[in-house]
């Protein structure tokens, strides 16, 4: 019996339990004409009938589904154990490697995942596997059904007018709510744990100091067996990331984003704003792979031609400038909306005061609004930087792979995210320093973006409080 069928069956049982428990509760309830009558024979129900239904349904579904989940994890071990007791298994070789290879081959054929075995010795084990599988899956299904029926029967006997079904059901709902919100913590722990664990394995091969301060990045040479020394110096990557994400991109995003926000909040008529603001939001909604394609196909060749035109001849077709410019455009809406928020939260009285003194609108903006909104704007820019350095697809497609330490925007640089993608695609042996380096880079990226976010949010928060 396969998994879908048994789960459908149990869900069906749950529905039956819900209906019959509700019906039973309804029969227990006093008729509508009696409810106001003090001399009625039957007591009032504590809970509405549907809560009795839910109570029974939960008792049917809960234990059975939990049992099935556990069984699905335990069953493969039991099946293998039973197969090994089969006389055909006695012919298996003793060494663990080929033994488990044959076993998994036989298992795949028995489950229909593979057609034929490479190793003829696996053929003898297919039939034992099939029978063991049948035995345990049938057993599991029967046990789950028994549990469902037992749970239902237990719940059914407890239905009485004074039974507090609602309280019990609500307790279950409450724990579901709590569990759902704990998933966020589990995810955070998962991220930190997996990054730390793999990074520690990496740092057992490469010293953290070499990694953080080394100037030479060439994981290929390490993979080819030239040793891990001097191959994993990540400084060129950090520089490339900062150069593209925090310098070139911000040269585009800060002026354009800030001026857009000023124009939208201070000058634009409401009708114009109704069109221009969504347009900026569209810019934020374009997928990054589209920006990357655009940068690589349209902007980068133009940049190279431009460099040749102004007399730089060794310009790369994967220049930092192309990736940075496009990333800057991607960040514009982000900077603009943060600046919009902080300009809007400057008290109206400050602006009115300045205008009343005879200042023009632009003087008010430059000398009153911007200085007052500056902490908020700075916080927004920090958030934008953290967004830019974590951005992947634009740099993967438009920036190069050469780890250069250069100030020349027409040269090719590489970034942390590009290298993570580069290291983890293609053939993966999970214990090589080359693969694990990606996790160390990921850890650095995670920590840096986290710090930027914390600092930025603190700045913005303190600034908001100053005006409240």
């Amino acid at each position: 019996m396969n998994g879908v069928a048994i789960i459908t069956l149990i869900l069906g049982l749950g529905l039956i339990a819900w209906l019959s428990a509700r019906a039973k509760a309804m029969r227990l309830a006093p008729a509508a004409s009696q409810t106001g009558d003090r001399s009625r024979k039957r007591p009032l129900l504590h809970s509405l009938p549907s809560y009795h239904g839910w109570y029974a349904a939960l008792w049917v579904l809960g234990p059975a589904l939990v049992f099935l989940a556990i069984w699905a994890n335990v069953m493969p071990g039991l099946v293998t154990g039973r197969v090994l007791q089969d006389p055909a298994a006695a012919a298996l070789p003793m060494d663990a490697m080929s033994r488990s290879a044959i076993l998994s081959e036989a298992r795949n054929i028995a489950q229909g995942n593979a057609q034929a075995a490479f190793d003829p010795r696996a053929n003898a084990l297919i039939e034992p596997y099939r029978s063991a599988n049948r035995f345990y899956s049938l057993g599991g299904a029967l046990a789950a059904l028994m549990l469902a029926l037992a749970g239902g029967a237990f719940a059914f006997t407890r239905i009485r007018p004074d039974f507090r079904a609602r309280t019990k059901v609500e307790r279950v709902v409450m724990s579901a709510l709590l569990l759902a919100s704990l998933i966020a913590i589990v995810t955070t722990v998962g991220i930190v744990g997996s990054l730390l664990w793999e990074s520690l394995r990496f740092f057992s091969m490469v010293s953290p100091l070499d990694f953080l301060f080394g100037l030479k990045w060439s994981p290929q040479s390490a993979a080819m067996g030239y040793g891990n020394e001097n191959a994993f110096g990540a400084v060129p990557l950090f520089w490339g990331t900062i150069f593209i994400g925090a310098i070139i991109a911000m040269f585009v995003a800060i002026p354009l984003g800030l001026m857009s926000a000023i124009y939208l909040t201070q000058y634009a008529k409401p009708a114009a704003r109704a069109w221009l603001k969504p347009m900026l939001e569209v810019l934020a909604g374009v997928p990054t792979v589209v920006y990357g394609y655009f940068a690589a196909l349209t902007i980068a060749p133009n940049m190279r031609d431009f460099a040749a035109w102004i007399g730089i001849h060794n310009a790369s077709s994967e220049s930092a400038l192309a990736a940075g410019l496009v990333m800057g455009v991607m960040i514009i809406p982000f900077v603009s909306s943060m600046a919009d928020d902080s300009i809007n939260s400057v008290p109206q009285s400050m602006r009115d005061g300045s205008l009343a003194m005879g200042a023009t609108t632009s003087e008010t903006i430059r000398q009153v609004l911007i200085p007052a909104a500056l902490p908020g704007v700075v916080g927004g820019v920090l958030l934008a930087v953290s967004r830019a350095i974590g951005e992947t697809m634009i740099v993967v497609m438009a920036a190069g792979l050469a780890a250069n330490l250069t100030l020349n925007p027409f040269a090719s640089v590489t970034t942390v995210t590009t290298q993570i993608v580069q290291l983890l695609t293609g053939d993966q042996e999970f214990d090589s320093a080359k693969t694990l380096a990606a996790f160390a880079l990921g850890l650095v990226l995670f920590v840096v973006t986290l710090l930027l976010n914390i600092v930025a949010l603190q700045v913005v928060k303190r600034y908001r409080e100053a005006y409240e």
Partner: protein, 424 residues
């Protein structure tokens, strides 16, 4: 230390607004005001211009990807080296009869006899058109018919833009003979990835995207809504709640590639879920989307006025009933808007899916969530890496499809917001 000030200077004069110096000063202040305003307008127009440039370059490059160049070829079935009884194609077993024929040879021969050496410019997959024509109407087997066969990638590029010299020359000859035409390439919408740009399509990637999104939605929406309800309505103010809030806010700002690393380390290497599958992609994106839904959901729940809760509590509803019968239905439009926006972001996401191996070459649409699959943005990334020039317009065409899809999702979100938003 101050210089002695003459008493004249200390006597205050009223400002002479009509004087030359003052007029000039005011004029320059107004000029700078106008300048500043123009700079602001220029900034926003530059952003708009960039958006327009991007859209126009995608449209101009990509619309050609939805069409293909076809060459009219006269196929003389009675003389062709195949023997099929048309009657055998009408009943049972037609598929077996069709698959027993060497259509490739038939097509090549027909093309060579009709076009001479230009017959080589027929696409490698052109025989599919011949087979489908016979399948649709077996009667043509006794006739000589003109079929419009797709041209090869090189000729297609030559027809639409600059191609190789040989292909350009061939196209000029064929065009002069009046044999070429342009038709909508339905295969682009119905087939999957391939090696020949004339045969590739986006259906496989599109289906992969749909499956991945389904997994993401099924996981992140219930969890996100429940978490938002808990945090907004029930959570006690203590250290645990603070930790949950901090981690949700941080998760919303973590770079997407980090989620890819998590998926690789946990879902693939620890839990041994199938590589490249929509299931793992959906799980990874669900972790990424969940914080977005929680944050949007909390804002929507916060916007429901307390009087609703008080009234419900006042007539004897339990706290759970208050929330599930009254607060949640009122907050749902806001939650849906946030969810659609989060899903749109997840749909355009590429980097985390590269990490979990969804960049494999998948030539057939996935049948379920555990089959190897790829998604639209990753397909775009893969095609953008192809050397063949025919893939350029296919990439742009796929981008157009992706953008249209995102646009419609966002329009639905805006529509929902406008229709159901209530100000209390």
């Amino acid at each position: 230390m101050n210089a002695p000030v003459s008493p004249d200077a200390l006597r205050r004069q009223p400002t002479d607004w009509k004087g030359d110096a003052m007029r000039k000063r005011i004029a320059s202040r107004y000029a700078s005001e106008r300048r500043f305003r123009r700079i602001g307008l220029a900034a926003i127009l530059m952003s708009a211009g960039f958006l327009a440039y991007l859209m126009i370059s995608m449209l101009s490059g990509g619309l050609g990807g939805f069409t293909r160049t076809e060459i009219a070829v006269r196929v003389d079935f009675p003389k062709a080296p195949i023997v099929i009884d048309p009657a055998s194609l009408r009943g049972e077993g037609a598929e077996a009869v069709l698959s027993s024929v060497n259509w490739q040879a038939l097509t090549d021969q027909a093309a060579t006899s009709a076009l001479g050496k230009d017959g080589a410019w027929i696409a490698p997959g052109a025989w599919l058109v011949v087979r489908d024509a016979v399948k649709a109407d077996p009667a043509i087997l006794q006739k000589s018919v003109t079929l419009h066969l797709p041209a090869s990638a090189e000729l297609d590029v030559a027809a639409k833009s600059e191609g190789q010299p040989a292909a350009e020359a061939a196209y000029a000859r064929l065009e002069k003979a009046g044999l070429t035409s342009r038709a909508i390439n339905w295969d682009f919408l119905t087939s999957s990835d391939g090696t020949d740009p004339t045969q590739v399509g986006i259906w496989g990637a599109f289906k992969g995207s749909l499956l991945t999104m389904a997994v993401t939605l099924l996981l992140s929406f219930p969890v996100g809504v429940l978490a938002a309800l808990y945090l907004e309505e029930y959570a006690p103010r203590n250290r645990w709640t603070d930790m949950i809030e901090v981690s949700i806010n941080n998760l919303a700002a973590v770079p997407s590639i980090i989620f890819g690393l998590l998926g690789l380390a946990v879902f693939l290497n620890v839990l041994h879920l199938p590589r490249s599958a929509a299931l793992v992609g959906g799980l990874t994106l669900a972790l990424m989307t969940m914080p977005v839904i929680v944050i949007a959901g909390r804002n929507a729940i916060k916007a429901v006025p307390p009087s609703i809760r008080d009234a419900a509590l006042g007539i004897g509803a339990s706290p759970i009933q208050v929330v599930f019968h009254h607060v949640l239905p009122l907050a749902l439009p806001g939650i849906m808007t946030g969810t659609i926006i989060g899903m749109a972001r997840a749909l355009g996401e590429t980097a985390p899916l590269l990490m979990i191996g969804m960049r494999a070459f998948i030539a057939s649409p996935p049948g379920g969530i555990t089959d190897p699959a790829t998604v639209l943005p990753v397909q775009i990334f893969l095609w953008s890496d192809e050397v063949s020039k025919g893939f350029v317009e296919k990439t742009s065409a796929a981008i157009i499809v992706l953008l249209l899809f995102l646009l419609s999702m966002n329009s639905i979100a805006i529509y929902l917001r406008n229709k159901f938003e209530r100000r209390w």
